[in-house]
Symmetry: C2
Subunit: 319 residues, 2 copies
């Protein structure tokens, strides 16, 4: 198949970006569980981005975009709108690079996420929880500050940063058959697709999405972006809708998305906590849920699953 990608999404840029951001990242481990392997009938390596700085892979993209800015641009600060992990990632990048961070959070963002973002030194303003409300609040604030807006995923610099996660998997594992990643806005999976495309083209890369917010699945089938009608999946990191830049990568490189039910996510989440002894958020459990739903297809194979993050309110666990 002939693949058409924007020039910026090149093998060289992926490599360069990885070298650029590496000093700012933790090397996250690949964990395994005998019990989960026995249950799944295959050999799974879990890439633990819950151990990454700020508890999710999002710092990869945040640093990737922020480090490209000039001294002058950085002084004006970074800004974004986010209720979740991207907010903390931008706040962290700004803290390390010693520049201001302006974060618009929806007024219904969980208190523990507000606190974590504020603790990193970011300035926070609240907006109505709608996309329009968030964007309007950010635009007004950006007018005051002239800060640089880093979108959580509809940004090639962010996508190039997220690719470093899969690149680390490829560096460590020479024998895997594929990578499974969750889909929210599509940045993490875009990075995995690009890494495999350039550096291990025989690798299968699949996406996993909650049935309740399966905008990427529907969009891929329709050939155009379909918005989520509901946003109440337990996997709060995956409620956002895919945007043109990630959708473009999906259209070129993604062969399949597996959708899973909420109950399947809860079962997989609990399995990860109990067997791997790690704290991950519901979004992280979606790929394992997908694999367990289609065991026969993965039988006897070696797969890497990206656990995207570990930020969860311990006062409101789903089990």
């Amino acid at each position: 198949m002939s693949v058409h990608l924007p020039t910026i999404l090149s093998a060289e840029n992926i490599r360069q970006r990885q070298a650029l951001i590496r000093p700012y990242l933790k090397k996250t481990p690949l964990l395994q569980s005998e019990k989960i392997n026995a249950l799944a009938g295959c050999n799974i390596y879990f890439k633990c981005e819950n151990f990454q700085h700020t508890g999710s892979f999002k710092v990869r993209g945040a640093f990737s975009a922020a480090l490209l800015l000039s001294e002058e641009e950085r002084k004006k600060g970074l800004c974004t709108h986010s209720s979740g992990n991207h907010a903390q990632a931008i706040a962290k990048a700004a803290q390390i690079l010693a520049c201001p961070a302006y974060i618009v959070m929806p007024e219904n963002a969980p208190a523990f996420k507000q606190r974590a973002t504020a603790e990193l030194g970011a300035e926070i303003r609240f907006s109505p929880p709608t996309t329009a409300g968030r964007e309007a609040a950010l635009a007004a604030w950006q007018k005051e500050t002239a800060a640089h807006f880093i979108h959580p995923y509809n940004d090639y610099d962010v996508i190039l940063g997220q690719a470093s996660c899969s690149l680390e998997i490829l560096e460590e594992l020479s024998d895997i058959d594929g990578i499974l990643a969750p889909i929210g806005g599509g940045g993490l999976l875009s990075g995995a697709l690009l890494s495999a495309h350039y550096f291990r083209p025989e690798l299968k890369v699949l996406g996993a999405e909650p049935q309740l917010v399966n905008d990427a699945y529907l969009s891929l089938a329709a050939g155009k972006i379909i918005e989520n009608k509901r946003t109440d999946s337990l996997a709060d990191g995956l409620r956002t809708t895919i945007r043109p830049k990630t959708f473009g990568v999906f259209q070129e490189l993604l062969s399949e998305i597996i959708c899973v039910e909420e109950e399947e996510i809860i079962l997989a989440l609990r399995l990860i906590w109990e067997q791997l002894k790690i704290v991950v958020e519901p979004s992280s459990a979606v790929p394992l849920a997908a694999l367990l739903k289609h065991k026969a297809r993965f039988k006897g194979q070696n797969w890497a699953i990206i656990l995207s993050g570990g930020n969860i309110d311990l006062d409101h666990l789903p089990f």
Copy 2:
């Protein structure tokens, strides 16, 4: 000070035992958290035995004792009484060494621990939850089977095995000021005390114990074993009472035990889950609670804390 230890607890035996059991163990990581360090005012390395096989350090002692048996003895099987992590450890050692395991569990042992032990192929019998009831049930069963009894801690072979945990810390960290470990029956801490005594004598080694079940603290003060009157600490792994073999090591080598309240354990537990993103059981949080209670004493120093295990019922979390 002149130290009198049983001949079997020698530097050479600790080294030999470590080499013997190493192939059966996971190499558990040392994790750090910037936030916990900032909060504590010192630099803490967490030794993650929650990631060990069966979710606790107990397999170290189980393999250490089981591997010494002759082929003939092994055939007759391993037996013990335990409601918790030691039961799983013996079951695991028996499974790997292909011999029977006979485990007496108190009838009030949590269902998830019964299940985990049974899944490892052990035979289980239930007894009244008292020490006398457990011991009587085991004695009767041992008469039938002639299986080898491995006590959870009042056994020098077990203590030698637990020493491997601290030895791994010493191998990896050349610059620490001390090691903090929780005290249940005292096996884990005895191992730490012995490792430091022989291989890093300048190291401080402290014990941490829940105030509610502080039999070791009281025993050390009284110069004789004082039984726990209560057994209702949240730290279920630490409810047992110290016995002569571990008490003997404590009397020779232990300078101090820090006692903590139940509320302090819960706060430390939550901090570990939230910041390290790992699942540990309440017993594991006791040393961090002790350190946070006496911050000034640890200020600016480097300490290792042993997280003893990660077996907790997710349906009954204390927060």
